[in-house]
Amino acid sequence: MKLHNPELVSALVDGELRGLRRWLVRRHLARCAVCGAEYRHQLHVRQLLAANPITPVMNESADFFWSKVRRDIEAQAGRPYRVRIPPLSLSDWLFRHQTSLLGAAAVLAAVLGLWFAARMYRPTLQTVAERPLPATVARVTTPLPQTTATVFHREDEEVTVIWVSGLPWTADLKQMHTLFATIGS
């Protein structure tokens, strides 16, 4: 440690030194005439400053200043004062209304989910009553050989058809009568 150090002398005057450093600096001041004189000078200055504090000079007296403040306050008493709210940024607005936004999003998701579910699982329309058949046949007999008869219904035309297959083709009616007479006998 450099003892010829004006900063140490100033620190000692300010009471900032402790312990071993304070003892060393004090011992040096007792032996060093220069540092000792410096110490005594700084101490004298400090004592002068403590004895003569700086007083702030105001243009008006303290009573006048505070009375003026009080008068301004009383003048504005009862007058509505509008505090301007600064505009919120998007992130601040979202943070402030996060509960409402979450609720709205939940409701929207529920509505959309119900709508999609209703569309996907729409029950097929079923007729209340089955359309009555125009005619029904319990059994169809075709005595002629190699002939068959099939019954089917045409819902769109409301007809019942007995489709006889296997009847022999003939060129004209006379041949048909002859043929059927032969088959029937």
């Binding site: 009555p132 058949l133 125009p134 005619a135 029904t136 046949v137 319990a138 059994r139 169809v140 007999t141 075709t142 005595p143 002629l144 002939t147 008869a149 019954v151 045409r154 769109d156 035309e157 409301e158 007809v159 019942t160 058809v161 007995i162 489709w163 006889v164 009847l167 022999p168 083709w169 003939t170 060129a171 004209d172 009616l173 041949q175 048909m176 009568h177 059927f180 007479a181 088959i183 029937g184």
Partner: protein
């Protein structure tokens, strides 16, 4: 006496009202480029959709009243005859009957327990003769 006459008239009226008419039609279908017969205009479109031919012509027609238990013969022409054996009206309001379709004396087809709704048609695809097809249409008047 007056009561007797009135009762007889009432019976006849009721009897007439309960009687139904069965109509048989013999129709020839072909693809001749000519308009269909006007007599089959009410059924031509149905026939066209079922059988596919372009032209339809009514060859014969016969209508007879029938009662349950009475055998009815319909002469449709060209040797085709239809016999109907009405059995009555079932719970669905259909007329039940046995039907026999003859060509001459030859039985072609015999649908049994045919139950036909009044006003509706039963079509029987008959024989093919030349380029034509014979169709028998049966209906019961409502």
């Amino acid at each position: 006496m007056r009561l007797l006459v009135f009762s007889l008239m009432l019976l006849l009226t009721v009897g007439a009202a309960s009687a139904s008419n069965v109509t048989g039609r013999l129709i020839r279908a072909d693809n001749v480029k000519a308009p269909s017969d006007k007599q089959v205009q009410d059924i031509a479109e149905k026939l066209r959709k079922v059988f596919g031919y372009a032209r339809y012509e009514q060859i014969g027609r016969d209508t007879k009243p029938f009662h349950a238990g009475e055998r009815v013969k319909l002469d449709l022409g060209e040797g085709f005859t239809v016999f109907c054996h009405p059995k009555g009206i079932n719970s669905d309001g259909k007329h039940e009957m046995d039907v026999e379709l003859y060509s001459g004396k030859t039985l072609i087809v015999k649908p049994e327990r045919l139950a036909i709704r009044p006003g509706k048609y039963l079509l029987v695809r008959g024989p093919e003769v030349g380029a034509s097809l014979f169709i028998i249409a049966l209906t019961v008047a409502p």
